[in-house]
């Protein structure tokens, strides 16, 4: 055991790694300014999974920007889904305001704040632009006895809390319902949790709820499957559904729609925001984008500057005027489960005889490997050292730990670690255009 730490025998390698990392660090920190923005790809965070309507819209717009060469650097979509969009929005909120991180988040940014899902709203960001609008429609089953919004509201007023309204609690569909309630004093719906548009459609068709709201494109997708719209929540009739009366025509003043907003972290220079807004505006005017919006029944809208601020103030006002009722019919499920776990743990403990395997399942090497992995993950999360370098170092040291030969094969191992890390880096960032840590 002379070579307990064989790696110390190769100071040259360490020096090389150090120099390379220093070089990369310098490269990462090189100062940008607003005039020559963008110098590197701009990350666009979509706080929902790939394939949803936000994701589709963003990718389509970015495709147009790239095709028409509107920006000198590419825009890269990163899906950071979860917790109603708040995981992704928080990421952008904490990002450096250098113009290289952007968020695309609809109405959900307002509803998350007012539903208490996030402690911040639009004020924590710089709004860049708003693009595309999809008004909400309220729909019932096609054989329902409700023929108009008036019928429905009269019923909701006559027997409050009796009509079941499918909504994603705390999300835009829920707030649309709350805003509708407020137009007619005394009317009350019983909101029932159903996640996405597809689930709400299923709930109506199965007769489990009486109504729900859908965006126009969702409604048109399900219409022939047995839905009947009663009203569209906008000031004017929509081209996609010319025969559908607006809520205002039926005596209920309300506006409720989904609009896509583009945000940058607070403090991002105005020049950058304006440049980005112009790029988005140009892309929206392109034929490709117009065609896309037409086929998806999205209303062509682009707002920036003053108009955008006014729109946001208006929307926030509408949402802040309604309040969520506390849901008190649900038991505290976590207590149940905790109780069961405690109960079965006690039973298992009493049945000691066959528990506890006497076999050891880890040894010193596995502890070292685990610790090294934890260090590797820490470096990736805490520093901005480049991914391939950190990973090749990790793979190399890991290989040294695992191999138990007196003389480890340094060369093949080094070769392997470099090929693996740089290969994966190339594959993911260049071919698959996916973000990697670091």
């Amino acid at each position: 055991m002379i070579q307990k730490f064989p790696i110390s025998k190769s100071p040259k390698l360490w020096r090389q790694i150090f120099c390379l990392s220093a070089l990369f660090a310098c490269f990462n920190l090189s100062a940008d300014n607003a005039e020559n923005w963008p110098q590197r790809p701009v990350k666009v965070i979509v706080p929902f999974g790939a394939g949803g309507s936000s994701d589709t819209f963003t990718r389509q717009l970015i495709r147009v920007i790239k095709k028409d060469n509107l920006l000198s650097q590419p825009l890269v979509v990163i899906n950071v889904g979860g917790a109603g969009g708040t995981i992704g929005s928080r990421r952008v909120r904490n990002a450096r305001p250098d113009g290289y991180t952007m968020l695309m988040l609809h109405e959900g940014i307002l509803t998350a704040k007012h539903a208490g899902k996030a402690a911040y709203g639009p004020e924590a960001f710089e709004a860049v632009a708003a693009t595309g609008m999809s008004p909400n429609v309220i729909a019932v089953k096609s054989d329902s006895h409700f023929e108009s919004l008036k019928d429905l509201m009269a019923e909701a007023k006559k027997s409050p809390n009796a009509l079941n309204f499918a909504a994603n609690i705390g999300a835009p569909s829920h707030f649309a319902g709350l805003i509708l309630e407020k137009t007619d004093k005394g009317a009350m719906f019983n909101f029932v949790q159903y996640g996405g548009g597809a689930e709400r459609y299923g709930a109506i068709m199965g007769g489990h709820v009486d109504m729900s709201v859908f965006s126009i494109d969702e409604y048109l997708r399900y219409k022939d499957g047995g839905l009947k719209a009663l009203a569209v929540f906008s000031n004017e009739r929509q081209a996609a559904l010319p025969e559908l009366p607006t809520s205002a025509e039926q005596g209920f003043e309300l506006n409720s729609s989904i609009m896509n907003f583009w945000w940058m972290p607070k403090g991002t220079p105005e020049a950058i925001r304006n440049k980005m807004a112009e790029v988005i505006e140009k892309a929206m005017a392109s034929q490709d984008m117009q065609g896309f919006m037409k086929s998806n029944w999205i209303k062509d809208t682009t707002l920036k500057g003053q108009d955008l601020s006014a729109e946001l103030v208006e929307r926030e006002k509408t949402i802040s005027e309604v309040s969520m009722r506390k849901i008190d019919v649900l038991p505290r499920f976590e207590r149940w489960i905790f109780g069961f776990v405690a109960f079965f743990s006690v039973l298992a403990f009493l049945q000691k005889s066959n528990s506890r395997s006497s076999e050891r399942i880890w040894n010193f090497t596995s502890i070292k490997v685990f610790a090294l992995s934890a260090i590797y993950v820490s470096i990736l999360s805490l520093t901005s050292l480049s991914y391939p370098l950190v990973s090749s170092a990790y793979v190399f040291v890991l290989g040294l730990i695992i191999t138990r030969k007196e003389k480890p094969a340094y060369l093949p191992l080094a070769f392997f670690s470099l090929v693996l890390s740089f290969g994966l880096f190339f594959l993911f960032t260049r071919v698959l255009v996916v973000d990697l840590p670091g």
Partner: protein, 490 residues
């Protein structure tokens, strides 16, 4: 199916695309830490430039391949390449280790192929009616159904008590974050990153891949039993077909049906079919020690869920699993508006995609048999190279899900949980199933309670829910009574 569809399906470019997709799916499915969902999510942006039908056919081929590829690593390395092959490890590895790797793989591959074919028949004939029926299930029915699935899983292992404990621990770990029923945040300890709770992928990777790697380290290279397989003796004989025909048909049927139900994927299909096969087997004691029936049940069912899950997706635009949710997004991107209209507005596309599933299933059988020799080398690669590569993939896989380091930490944490559970002899499969199913159960129960003003009574008034609920209770109580009678006799 008209001639245009057939021409499209059998054109060289389509066949090449399907072969490529199936092959990639198999390779990714075979690598622990990488799943079909990841491959398909990562490939979706690549298909933007392609024709819509081509793109979706490619993605469906990947789906079929990835559900199948997992059985290779499950059998040869005792690591499920994907969640859907967890049950295959139980019998596949012991059988392979006892000197029959070719037999173990061959059974798995043939059963996978048959599962796919049987479910395809259902997809092609029953798409619309089956999806219509699912719509009549109310939230209480769904809740009862999920409860029954969970009870089934607890019964799989050696000790029912440990199974139940494991299942409830899994449910507990699924709790942090926004509640699926009320949307309120809970058990996050004030840490905002926890608002989304723990995601399945990092939990899975940590529990299975990483902790398995740590255990692998304990053994030296010499101790590992090298399991390799050659593509000979893999085809099932006529006697085999006779012996396992009923099992394959039952498991495929079950897999298809479970696939149809929204949100429940290949893993549940495989577990349920495995349990049923054990219950109805003449040699239940062999299960978990290399039972051929176990492999056949698990593998035919998980492949059958693919066809099953495509039924609601193509017929109603409702995704049946995580992968189908990504496929749904792909359909929207490529201008195929999902929904009940799709069958009438784009019949050729629907039939092309249905056909693509059939062809990639047939290709899967051939590709798997041909490449087993190559893929099984995964087990022969020196640990010095294999383990770092697996760990690097695990980190990328956890990170790639939603691009955040939090998930990577979750993965490391669940590696420790996995080690502790192994040490205490608590089975892992019920944990994962409880973890996956509870949020669905809670959402349905929450919905049901909200629409019935907090009352549990309707569960006994609705015929489907009531039947399922009583069955669940019976399943849990009967073994206990049997055990007590046994004790009395002693």
């Amino acid at each position: 199916m008209n001639t245009e569809v057939l021409q499209y399906l059998f054109s060289p470019s389509t066949l090449l695309l399907l072969a490529l997709g199936t092959w990639l799916g198999i390779v990714v499915g075979a690598i622990p830490g990488l799943t079909g969902a990841m491959l398909i999510a990562l490939s979706l942006p690549l298909t933007f430039a392609m024709d819509g039908t081509d793109a979706l056919a490619l993605l469906i081929a990947m789906y079929v391949g990835s559900v199948s590829g997992g059985l290779i690593t499950a059998t040869l390395l005792k690591m499920p390449g994907t969640p859907s092959s967890i049950m295959t490890t139980l019998d596949g590895y012991p059988l392979a280790a006892s000197g029959n790797p070719g037999r173990a793989l061959g059974l798995g591959i043939c059963a996978s192929g048959m599962g796919g074919l049987i479910s395809w028949i259902f997809l092609a004939t029953l798409a619309a009616p089956v999806a219509k029926f699912a719509h009549h299930l109310g939230p209480y029915d769904f809740f009862a159904l999920i409860m029954m699935a969970m009870a089934l899983i607890a019964l799989v292992g050696k000790s029912m008590l440990m199974g139940l404990l494991s299942g409830f621990i899994g449910m507990l770990f699924s709790m942090p974050g926004f509640s699926p029923s009320s949307g309120e945040s809970r058990l996050t300890f004030g840490y905002a990153e926890m608002n989304d709770g723990f995601k399945l992928l990092p939990v899975m990777i940590g529990l299975y891949a990483v902790s398995e790697v740590v255990i692998m380290l304990k053994k030296t290279d010499g101790e590992i039993k090298e399991i390799t397989a050659k593509p000979t003796g893999m085809w099932m004989s006529l006697a085999d077909w006779k012996k396992y025909g009923v099992n394959i048909f039952r498991s495929s049927l079950l897999g298809t049906w479970i696939g149809v139900l929204p949100g429940i994927g290949a893993n549940v299909g495989s577990v349920t079919a495995y349990t049923l096969a054990k219950k109805s087997s003449k040699e239940p004691e062999k299960f978990g020690k290399g039972s051929e029936e176990g492999i056949v049940a698990s593998e035919s069912a998980n492949n059958a869920t693919v066809g099953g899950a495509l039924i609601p997706l193509l017929a109603m635009g409702i995704p049946g699993s995580v992968v189908d949710a990504i496929l749904l997004g792909g359909m929207v991107i490529h201008g195929l508006q999902p929904g009940p209209l799709l069958m009438t507005s784009h019949p050729d596309d629907v039939w092309s995609l249905t056909g693509a599933m059939l062809i990639s299933n047939i290709m899967m059988i051939g590709l798997m048999v041909l490449s087993v020799g190559w893929l099984s080398k995964l087990a022969k690669i020196s640990k010095t190279y294999l383990i770092p590569a697996i760990l690097v993939f695990c980190v990328i896989g956890s990170y790639g899900l939603s691009n955040r380091m939090f998930d990577v930490w979750v993965m490391l944490f669940f590696c420790l949980v996995g080690l502790a559970m192994r040490k205490l002899k608590i089975p892992l499969a019920p944990f994962i199933i409880g973890f996956v199913l509870w949020p669905m159960a809670e959402e349905n129960l929450g919905t049901a309670l909200m629409s019935h003003n907090g009352s549990f009574m309707p569960i006994f008034k609705q015929p489907i829910a009531c039947t399922l609920f009583l069955l669940t209770i019976a399943m849990l109580v009967v073994p206990f009574i049997k055990q007590m009678k046994k004790d009395e006799n002693v």
